[in-house]
Symmetry: D2
Subunit: 364 residues, 4 copies
Amino acid sequence: MKNTFGNNVSFTIFGESHGVGIGVVIDGLSPGIEVDTKYIDKLLSLRRPAGKISTSRQEADEYVIQSGVFEGKTTGTPISIFIPNSDTKSKDYSETRWLARPSHADYTANCKYHGFEDYRGGGHFSGRITAAIVAAGAIVLPALNKKGIRIGTHIKKCAGISDVDFSDKIIEEIDSLYEKNIAVLDESVAPKMEEAIIDAKNNGNSVGGILETVIIGLEAGLGEPMFDTVEGVLAHALFAVPAIKGVEFGAGFAIADMTGKEANDAFYTENGSIFTKTNTAGGINGGITNGMPIVFRCAVKPTPTLSVEQETVDMQSKKNAVLLSKGRHDPCIVHRARIVVDCITALTVADILATRYGTDWLAK
Amino acid sequence: MKNTFGNNVSFTIFGESHGVGIGVVIDGLSPGIEVDTKYIDKLLSLRRPAGKISTSRQEADEYVIQSGVFEGKTTGTPISIFIPNSDTKSKDYSETRWLARPSHADYTANCKYHGFEDYRGGGHFSGRITAAIVAAGAIVLPALNKKGIRIGTHIKKCAGISDVDFSDKIIEEIDSLYEKNIAVLDESVAPKMEEAIIDAKNNGNSVGGILETVIIGLEAGLGEPMFDTVEGVLAHALFAVPAIKGVEFGAGFAIADMTGKEANDAFYTENGSIFTKTNTAGGINGGITNGMPIVFRCAVKPTPTLSVEQETVDMQSKKNAVLLSKGRHDPCIVHRARIVVDCITALTVADILATRYGTDWLAK
Amino acid sequence: MKNTFGNNVSFTIFGESHGVGIGVVIDGLSPGIEVDTKYIDKLLSLRRPAGKISTSRQEADEYVIQSGVFEGKTTGTPISIFIPNSDTKSKDYSETRWLARPSHADYTANCKYHGFEDYRGGGHFSGRITAAIVAAGAIVLPALNKKGIRIGTHIKKCAGISDVDFSDKIIEEIDSLYEKNIAVLDESVAPKMEEAIIDAKNNGNSVGGILETVIIGLEAGLGEPMFDTVEGVLAHALFAVPAIKGVEFGAGFAIADMTGKEANDAFYTENGSIFTKTNTAGGINGGITNGMPIVFRCAVKPTPTLSVEQETVDMQSKKNAVLLSKGRHDPCIVHRARIVVDCITALTVADILATRYGTDWLAK
Amino acid sequence: MKNTFGNNVSFTIFGESHGVGIGVVIDGLSPGIEVDTKYIDKLLSLRRPAGKISTSRQEADEYVIQSGVFEGKTTGTPISIFIPNSDTKSKDYSETRWLARPSHADYTANCKYHGFEDYRGGGHFSGRITAAIVAAGAIVLPALNKKGIRIGTHIKKCAGISDVDFSDKIIEEIDSLYEKNIAVLDESVAPKMEEAIIDAKNNGNSVGGILETVIIGLEAGLGEPMFDTVEGVLAHALFAVPAIKGVEFGAGFAIADMTGKEANDAFYTENGSIFTKTNTAGGINGGITNGMPIVFRCAVKPTPTLSVEQETVDMQSKKNAVLLSKGRHDPCIVHRARIVVDCITALTVADILATRYGTDWLAK
């Protein structure tokens, strides 16, 4: 198990879906960062299941900051945040203990933990654990904003329905995303996505999508190649978000069909600053930021837990079996995952910046 | 700079394109692994430019094993491999010192290293440095093979031309790929790709593509979530390979358009072993191997250095400028990069296995 | 801040003396290790202040295991243990906020955290935080014992009074140490030490001492030089225990006065096993275990908080000042620190073993 | 094996005594640091055996900087330095292949590497490998000096003969140490030490000693507790230097016999700056620098290889045996080890500073 990530700003995740609770320890944050508990609440609410398009499990996400914050500001020592579990219905899961949900982590966790894993509700592999990432990110994001760095994720596509691209009003658009339960730029798209999700749910089915993130305000010259490229460390972190199966930067996989003449981003200068005319590279050359917006997309798979019968095996008897999941679950997590992506991105960016500028920079 | 990667098996890369040479230090490999210098030669030759579809720079890639190998076997202490540079023509680059090649690392390196970088031929950001990864991987790959683990990468697509998918004969196909300069499963595709690359070259242009990799023989239960998922650590390593802009596992981005019913991989059992009927997940659930083949794809961008005039800036004067690159360069690196992907994958897999089974396992 | 330690078994410490509480997250422990809460209680009680020779602050050390334990056993996912603070009297400290206690961390914390640190009771630098290490170690120690590995620390010297050396009955002696509040081999020494400590207390003074630790049952061949020598990683961990100012192995500093003929440990063989006649090296050659008992000593300084006036400065006004500490504090922490040394040693040894034998070994 | 050390400035060591050569890769050094090859030569000469008090093996220590330096300055990319072995007489060792030298790493290396280790001359465990640390440190030390940071080590004691303490002229004394083969403050002591070493040699014996190091010019507030205390990271690094068996800071083990009144360092202020009247803490409180000189001592054991018969075992036959070492070896390495201590300290300090101030600070 490696549940700690980051070199100079690091975060350690713990907890299980149906245990006492979940939490995070953030280490290496500069002393003196303001901690706004209302903002933490707000971001947690963006991740929380809401309405017909999510699981019926309702968690208050009331959290306790156990350390590292004093008189409303970070102290520079580890910040521990604990989120108790409240609405747990473990009996939902016990009868299907040994039936591995297809494409979920039940089987692989059983192989790795030899049956000692807390299997209830996915245990440590539950999406619930991402609430801890959100709580941590909600401390870092405002500090980045003060430095002129903004991070925003919209649902590029969900259930086959696409949102528009970021326009030139990136800052306004990013800010508005934090006010929306369905993070789309074109608001007319949201009800269509919701409808498609409800359709899937009514069929016992689920849907996935693509999240697109931009980071603006990062100076050129950040990143630590050859291995701690901006792409590499972000991808490493992002693949920790359950359900993500692909990460691409800039044009991403589409670049494979371009020629060099099409793909190259010509440089130009304006008022002594250097820009690129296009941003096929997604703001990164050679693993280092070039000052243009960082752009990446994550492929989010449809939720594996379905309300229909699925073929599987009994892990104990090693016999073929049929599973009908009765636990509460989401027909789609794309709209909930986006704030997780924002927050894990914020934590990773804070680490990249701390490496470059030192331990105190973020609060200066 | 972070030029060391890996927890228990680690590798440290150094060197510049036009300096004394490049190299690698591999640490944590089990003692007693046979080192076959002919196999290292062979894999280096697969990476080396060859014929009309590559740069005219010819490197012998004669290397020196400076430590860590004794009487033909690894000692368990760090293995240092040095590859001197020979065919360097630095004058090619000096006159364009301050002209940033679009979509190359010239500008970002200049931002990060403040002008102290060795700019000749891309310096530390040259693709040449990947020869060190290949030399290192060539020690690890045969040891993995002995354990029943095979890694193979084919050119899924290049210059718009596609190869077939892996069939049921995966082992034979993987083995055959190591005998081919153009690593495609359907050999009739190779001349078409070569033709398209030569076409691009003749137009001063370049092309990219998609590499697809399979890993077979990995037991279920490997990987160290929440952060050191198999996807996360592989992606982290892969993004260190110059030109890679996207990494996806299993169905990857296509999974975004699937429903849960389509995407889920049903489990079944046969002779007491557990398999999945499909492999949309690419052999990984919850960041942990499930015993099925690991499948991933990398998007490789077209080479940024072109033989046509490109708009850019002079980094010193901060004025707009036009660049016509005269140095030798590749019109495509997809066919050369595949062995780099195989080798960096092998090193990363060796690390995953050492974490699970300890320092000595690989040579047992 | 680096509050995470360990490569494959790691532990992350958080908390402040007068905040909500303190805690630890242990990651990488094998699944299936039995967790005996009575044993955790017992070890915590050995660290807890008791009687006239300790601070009058009384903490129940009631802890909550927040994750990673299921049905009485480790799951293999992170174990989070939280110990709420209860008996806090913060007003004791506020009036001396800016007066740096000599040889305490007040001034250096202020330099590092720029005044944002939680200064009450030493904050993150309070000895109280070591309770988290003890709770964590109490999970690991029994698992090591099952593998035949025993760790024991006695007070070699305290307030000038010396204990005897370990005799040949090491196992029995180690076991008995866990039953003693004053961990000495010769029980007649304990009351003399207590008396000397009370003497110091009555004079508003404090005393220090030397702790000596043995580890038995470790196989030859453990340790990961050149940098992760057994000495290096143990010393790194041990210096995290507040008040430790020196760490030496085997003969330690006394070896400086020996000749090679005196210092060398001759090998001999008995029943096919290899031993050394003496153990000047403390069981470690070249940073690797040689199968003999590991022996090391830690110098523990006298507690810096005194009940007499001390010269100091006001950190805010930067003027000379006189401090009379009124908070509760210990006249000696040697007798309390020994179980902390045992526990941090156990955690470090578990990491060394996990690196060598893999993630699952400890519970096998 | 863990042959890489450091978080933000790291160094990777490789090589064996009688192989092709040894070397180091330094990663994370700021771009733009001047590299003075004459200074590297000078420091290597201080480590090199000289005269009657050292081994007769003569190495020119001609090194090649293979990467990371361009036009006389660091580029910011990894610096690889290779030092070929020249004067190797491997036949000296082959006949005693299986006879473990007492208190050397022969037996433990054999346990760890299962016989695959390069046994000749101690292989990777030879003191020769420390030449790589010196070469690396010789790049960092002048950069630290420019920042007002000075590091100096004197032989506090050797073969029972003691040097004086550092006086108030610390800067001058540190500078002068780099001009001396026998690094003592009182020059009259040097010939006595040499005489004692030659005496030991004539008896086939060896001697050890104590090295004392001071670091001046470090700002208060450096270090990353709870685990990356200044003591912890320095000790971790120092125990990698062969023969070191103890590390103590400030008063070190002597503090165990002091009372708090004696041990506490009273603060006072002068011209707005804060100092301590004494420096029992060795410049570190709570693991963080307090602005006073860092002071530590290392216990160096007598060289284990002796020119007399020693009892040992044959590791292959597992029978008792007698060893008479014929290879060239040192009767004392204290005088050679001091520059190694200076250099590994410099590298570690550079890492501590890079963590605090970022990647570029050292060259600013």
